[in-house]
């Protein structure tokens, strides 16, 4: 056996305790309290996704009162989210489906935990409930060309 100083033994014990505590914290919040990460939703063909299917006419669709789905397309050159503006009444739950038609983009919606990579070929799905009135910008968080800094949109909660 190797010689380990008593203080170092304490330190190692403390480290292991922290590791277990951190793992439990993220496990419990992730799988029991529902603070989830994106997971595989659907595969699409990036070359045709703008012409057919749900993303051909992107935008907000009402499923039931205060329950919405929003289909959003991320596009470079011109650098835009389509649609750029979404309006929902306060108290709404919105499920976002986002995909890219060209290169990688990002989608981060202020005031929520929504923060996801947008890949051509994949659909990213995230849900949030909006209990506060206001304007929440969503911005592109991945480099997608020289117009990247101009790529953003707005969710308005009324």
């Amino acid at each position: 056996m190797i010689h380990v100083h008593v203080y170092e033994k304490w330190w190692i014990g403390l480290t292991v305790a922290m590791l277990i505590a951190f793992s439990l914290a993220i496990g419990v919040s992730g799988f029991m309290m529902g603070i989830q990460l994106p997971s595989p939703e659907a595969l699409v063909n990036p070359n045709t996704v703008a012409k057919q299917g749900d993303f051909a006419n992107p935008g907000l669709k009402e499923l039931a009162p205060k329950k919405y789905v929003a289909y959003i397309r991320a596009e470079a050159n011109p650098w835009k989210f389509r649609p750029e503006k979404i309006e929902v009444p306060v108290g709404s739950t919105v499920t976002f489906y986002v995909t890219a038609v060209d290169v990688q983009h990002g989608f981060k919606l202020e005031g929520t935990n929504i923060n996801v990579q947008i890949l051509p070929g994949q659909v990213s799905k995230m849900t949030a409930t909006f209990n506060q009135k206001g304007e929440f910008p969503f911005v592109c968080t991945e480099f997608c060309g020289v117009g990247h800094q101009n790529m953003f949109g707005k969710l308005i909660v009324k």
Binding site: I12, T15, I26, I35, P40, V103, Q117, V139, N150
Partner: protein, 546 residues
């Protein structure tokens, strides 16, 4: 007596290229920081051929994070292995060949970068598409670094034959582990480039699988940070205690830390892909737990290195619970730069736990927080350590005394103050929701709040101080190279505090290598099989977006 003239020459050339790359790469840093502050120099810079912020950012990332680090590390470790084994390179020609392969690769990659044909950032995410020779150039840099590692391993193998049953000296073992880790983890990026990207950028196949290319990239991308870090640890464990006047507190645990890094560094790349749509949550969680486990060897290192420095401080007459810190050799620029690097790195480590924490990551993913974080790690923990190493290494190689000890001390302190302000600014911006890889000064016309202004100013101010510090570093290097005053500076080699026999399991590669491969198979195997089963070669390349 062996004077290691050949090894000096090999290492010297690597390090020369490294410093050259860093000098060019760093230039873009302050420009980015100033842009964030609201001073946009890029329209004016078009006159000198810099086409955009993003061309500069690509150069900054590639030259600093890939070229400076890889060239410094391969050069430095080549020398450390030879010195530590007290034996010249068995095949110095292999090390030279490695160097030339790396240089050819660098030139091949530099041309399209400078011509604004490869503005794809250092992560080169498809379907952004650079010319095929850009990717081939980067591949050659990696292959060259492999060859460098082979040369070290062959030298060690020859040493082992002549020293049957002997324990490999710590410095050599730690260096070899770093190079072997690199061999294992670069298989990801090598297969990304050779199998997916090259055929696609050559036009042989029409499309690429974007999700799979990201997974292969990050297979290498995270262990890459350990490839940067472990050579700094080589110095912190194996050299700095000597510079501090002390001994290495626990050599067996130092070895254990390196073995654990070899075991654990690779099977956790999904922590860079927490927000990727194509990877199931369960796999992300597994990688999160494995990532946290790397916290273990990091904490071992924190204890052991600080205890070794304390040993030095006390040997130099320091007393008290903490007052021994004052007795450390703060007048020695090499020691001071590395100690400050360590302190800044400690903050980076704490931030890293936040990044690694699965869903907490959602708050900061792809925000300015992330560059705030890695300028404390690779940008300072590693870079300022390498600078500190150069403060003894250049005199050691050239026989010339270090010029301007006070200047060098100022350099280290200025960098530390600068990066503290700079990264504080970026961390805050990230928490306020500002994206990374973005012309933030311009973006604030579109989004953001008045609260962003103060941290933007911090970023600009801190970046300016870092630039001044780097200019002082170059001054010290150039003046030292031309110094008429000579000096005999030895490579610091720390002794172990206790002379214990190293147990076989801490001197034997097999269990650790087998463990590493098994963990990789568990963590990546099923997902890779699934991705290949549903391969989606649909994305054509885009090369006209910059």
């Amino acid at each position: 007596m062996n004077t290691f003239a050949v090894e000096r020459k090999i290492a010297g050339w690597h390090i020369f290229v490294a410093i050259f790359a860093l000098s060019l790469g760093i230039l873009f840093g302050p420009l980015q920081a100033w842009e964030h502050m609201g001073w946009n120099t890029y329209p004016a810079l078009q006159a000198v051929g810099l086409q955009s912020y993003y061309q500069g950012l690509t150069l900054h990332g590639v030259l600093n994070a890939l070229v400076w680090t890889t060239f410094f590390i391969t050069g430095f470790l080549t020398y450390v292995v030879a010195k530590s084994l007290n034996r010249g390179m068995t095949f110095p020609k292999l090390s030279w060949a490695a160097f030339f392969v790396m240089v050819i690769g660098l030139v091949m990659a530099a041309i399209p970068l400078l011509l604004n044909l490869a503005t794809v950032l250092y992560t080169m995410y498809p379907p952004l598409q650079a010319p095929w020779y850009y990717y081939l150039g980067l591949t050659l840099v990696v292959v060259g670094s492999w060859m460098s590692g082979w040369s070290m391993l062959l030298t060690w193998n020859a040493w082992r034959k002549d020293n049957k049953g002997a324990t490999t000296p710590f410095l050599a073992l730690a260096s070899l582990i770093s190079m072997v880790l690199w061999q294992i983890c670069t298989l990801g990026i090598a297969s990304e480039i050779l199998v997916l990207i090259l055929p696609w950028s050559l036009g042989l196949v029409p499309g690429i699988d974007v999700q799979l290319s990201r997974t292969l990239f990050w297979f290498t991308g995270h262990p890459l940070v350990y490839f940067w870090l472990l050579p700094a640890y080589v110095s912190w464990y194996g050299m700095m205690p000597k510079q501090a006047g002390g001994k290495l507190f626990s050599e067996p645990l130092a070895r254990l830390a390196f073995w654990l890094f070899l075991l654990l560094s690779t099977p956790l790349g999904f922590h860079h892909q927490y927000v990727d749509p194509g990877i199931p949550e369960g796999w992300k969680f597994l990688h999160a737990v494995l990532t946290l486990s790397v916290f273990f060897p990091s904490m071992l290192t924190a204890f052991n290195v600080v205890a070794s420095l304390e040993n030095g401080g006390r040997a130099r007459g320091g007393t008290g619970l903490l007052m021994w810190i004052r007795s450390l050799p703060w007048g020695d620029p090499s020691f001071t730069a590395q100690s400050l690097a360590m302190i800044v790195f400690a903050f980076g480590g704490v931030g890293g736990v936040i990044n690694a924490s699965y869903n907490v990551n959602l708050v900061i993913h792809n925000t300015a927080w992330v560059p705030g974080h890695f300028h404390t790690t690779v940008g300072t923990g590693v870079t300022l350590t390498f600078i500190g190493i150069l403060y003894w290494l250049i005199p050691h190689f050239t026989g010339k005394a270090l010029w301007g000890r006070k200047w060098a001390l100022w350099q280290a302190w200025l960098w530390t103050i600068g990066v503290a302000i700079f990264s504080q600014g970026l961390h805050r911006l990230g928490l306020l929701g500002a994206p990374r890889r973005t012309m933030l000064g311009v973006a604030t016309d579109n989004y953001g709040t008045p609260e962003w202004l103060f941290p933007r100013l911090m970023t600009g101010l801190g970046g300016t101080i870092m630039l001044i510090s780097f200019c002082v570093f170059l001054l010290v290097v150039i003046k030292t190279m031309r110094n008429k005053e000579t000096a005999q500076v030895e490579m610091p080699v720390a002794e172990a505090l206790h002379h214990e026999t190293i147990p076989a399991w801490l001197n034997n590669w097999q269990p650790w290598l087998v463990g590493a491969v098994v963990l990789i198979l568990i963590a990546y195997g099923p997902m890779l099989v699934q991705s290949i089963a549903q391969l989606q070669m649909t994305s054509p390349g885009f090369n006209g977006l910059w």
